[in-house]
Symmetry: C2
Subunit: 413 residues, 2 copies
């Protein structure tokens, strides 16, 4: 026997930037929206640096992810303006560009390859000499060999963004329940609601699963439907400039700097508050969120090599978060084979960047029932299905793909 809560039109599992953005947009459409999260904004959102750099991400990812990121970045100015109008809250959004720099000759060669890749996507990048890099960012080490400037990139403070999104969503009528979701309830082969940690059931014909890396393991889904997301640990350091740094730009830099330093990647994101975020490690260690001596040391080593002035900054915060990675590094967005169940997860390093476009397109789908054309590369069904050990008897119709080989399993298990 379990208590029943007021039913909702849409139950959203997960209150990070993705879940909260969708909640806001869906509530604006007049849907009765419920968001369940034990502690909204405390997952990958809390650890994210907030770079809005589809162009820099394109070095690692596929053309489709780049396109989605670019579409989301274009939506950002309007998105944050609307958010500010609705809540009066700050988000730290700025659009000051990204400077990619190379430290030594080998790094310069990597950066040259990056440039070829990025320009093949149709991106316009300004190539900067060492001298031009220093003119743009006087705090850079004189050894920096050269750089690429992407002037339209932006950044935002993900913690502020989450607070504003929550207030906007609630202001638009969404309801937040600070509880973990213990089960997704399917009935007669379709989504029917969610069960909360206190055993309350919320009936809802639509469920949006936006629980980051934890989306893979929420009980109740038929085999092969849970997205193959895995936790990818990231350690990140927040530094703070203080009165001693008077005369220097807040956060030492004018814009986001991404560096390749002796083959290692590091980024530094300045904020107008004087914060300078240094990130991030990328570790495959399961759900471990320990801040380690090695992680901190590597970040400080590379950041200090690029911007020696950071040594004077105060260490304000060091955290580790878990990004939702997928086998192909692309997000998982759209309807599943279970009618009523929509996925919006697997955003890996780009959840903050992709929040506006994810929210807008998911909300449109919930209104119209028509999947967004941009979702094609991100369809939940694109991965070979995997079985959950010991659950063969619950296999839904049409999931015979279980017998297929799973060559990518090692990569995401």
């Amino acid at each position: 026997m379990s208590a029943h809560s007021e039913p909702a039109d849409i139950a959203i599992v997960g209150g990070g930037v993705i879940g909260l953005s969708i909640a806001w947009r869906a509530a604006q459409q007049g849907h009765r929206v419920l968001v369940a999260d034990r502690q909204p904004g405390s997952g990958a959102t809390h650890a994210a640096a907030g770079m809005l750099t589809p162009i820099a991400e394109a070095a690692y990812a596929e053309r489709e992810i780049f396109g989605l990121g670019q579409a989301s970045l274009r939506r950002y100015p309007g998105f944050v303006a609307e958010l500010h109008a609705a809540t009066g809250l700050p988000t730290g959004f700025r659009q000051a560009g990204t400077l990619q720099v190379a430290y030594d000759a080998d790094d310069q060669a990597i950066l040259a390859e990056t440039r070829v890749l990025q320009e093949s996507f149709g991106v316009h990048l300004q190539q900067l000499t060492a001298r031009e890099c220093r003119a743009a960012e006087p705090m850079l080490d004189p050894s920096v060999r050269g750089g690429l400037l992407a002037p339209d990139d932006g950044s935002i403070d993900p913690r502020l963004l989450a607070v504003a999104l929550l207030q906007a969503a609630e202001g638009a009528g969404a309801r937040l329940v600070r509880q973990q979701v213990s089960e997704i309830i399917c009935a007669a082969g379709r989504a029917a609601g969610i069960r909360l940690a206190d055993d309350t059931v919320v009936q809802a014909p639509w469920i949006v699963l936006a629980a980051g890396w934890e989306s893979a393991a929420i009980p109740g889904l038929p085999d092969g439907v849970a997205p193959p997301v895995r936790p990818v640990k990231g350690q990140i350091i927040r530094l703070r400039t203080t009165a001693e740094a008077a005369g220097l730009p807040p956060g030492l830099l004018q814009r986001t700097v991404r560096g390749i330093v002796r083959g290692c990647s590091v980024y530094l994101v300045p904020r107008e508050t004087g914060e300078l975020v240094v990130g991030a490690t990328q570790e495959e260690l399961g759900s471990d969120t320990r801040v380690t001596a090695g992680g901190v040391w590597e970040l400080l080593r590379d950041a200090r090599t690029l911007v020696p002035g950071i040594t004077e900054l105060e260490v304000a915060d060091i955290v580790a978060g878990l990004r939702p990675g997928t086998p192909d590094n692309a997000p998982v967005i759209g309807p599943t084979e279970v009618p009523g169940l929509v996925l919006a997860t697997g955003h890996f390093r780009a959840g903050v960047l992709l929040a506006p476009v994810t929210a807008d397109t998911v909300a449109a789908f919930l209104r119209t029932g028509t999947p967004d054309p941009s979702w094609q590369a991100f369809a939940p069904g694109r991965f070979p299905a995997r079985s959950r050990p010991g659950s063969e008897t619950h296999r839904p119709p049409g999931s015979a793909a279980d017998e297929r080989p799973r060559p990518e399993a090692a990569a995401w298990r």
Copy 2:
């Protein structure tokens, strides 16, 4: 008009390990003791690593400090046994030795000089080859060139020690007031009591000033009587071994390791709880207690060079504390020219080590009126007096030394 509290025989200003140890010993003698500290144990005590290494300290200090440290170390086993008997509380005391190691050839030369100095003090040290160092501490980097083992050195957890001392002192009848001391009150040329932040006055014929670096600036003392202590900042990192390190000794090491790494000093103090303390920077920055990117990076760099395995450890805590430094690096212990006023401060890096001997000798002085012979090198009157700006009219009789040159001023201002 100010309220009067119950009078005390002895008012102790400062509740770090020095003030609390004295409080305990004095209360045991039947004195009515009051200790005033806004937050006991939160100063240098909170940041200290707890090395009990008079021998290693002898590399930097004078023969007299070494002798005092050795005397205090000899008292430690009985001191902590008595403390444990009185409170049942742990202190983390262990006597596993200190291994001093050198990383490269230049470091080896420094260590050889250290050995000559230390042996000139009559210390017996075991010289270890690189192989013997690794046999003693298997987690040491294979590059370590050699070492010196001081088998009798100890270590303790200063935070646990402070908790136990406070309980023991209160158990023996001492009274703790969690307030800052706003003034030391002198009347008719002698100590008369203290004023607390809430303006309460505690009358006491004896005052022990044990407020660490803050001892220099407490109002009310005649010119030339306040000890010339200055804050010397130290940043320190507490790492924690976790289940992943099963099979390794707790804290990775068997004993304290002090290293010279490319000319820089670093120490690692293991605890039986699995903690490994890495310290410490030494910075002359006034009362600044910010943890900085540069401080953390340097400590991790040198610690990781000596013991690469620390990279897997969790960062449990990073703090900065302020040690009370003096012009000659030696403590200031004993009576002043103001009858009734006793100093016990300036212990610099050795406050935890020197707590037992300081407490025992100060308590004996409070009982007998006879200064301990060992205090000769640490007498409060050994520094040329300095004037406090604008306070010339309050100059007490006999303080004409104000006109003397003050060659050391630059060093401790």
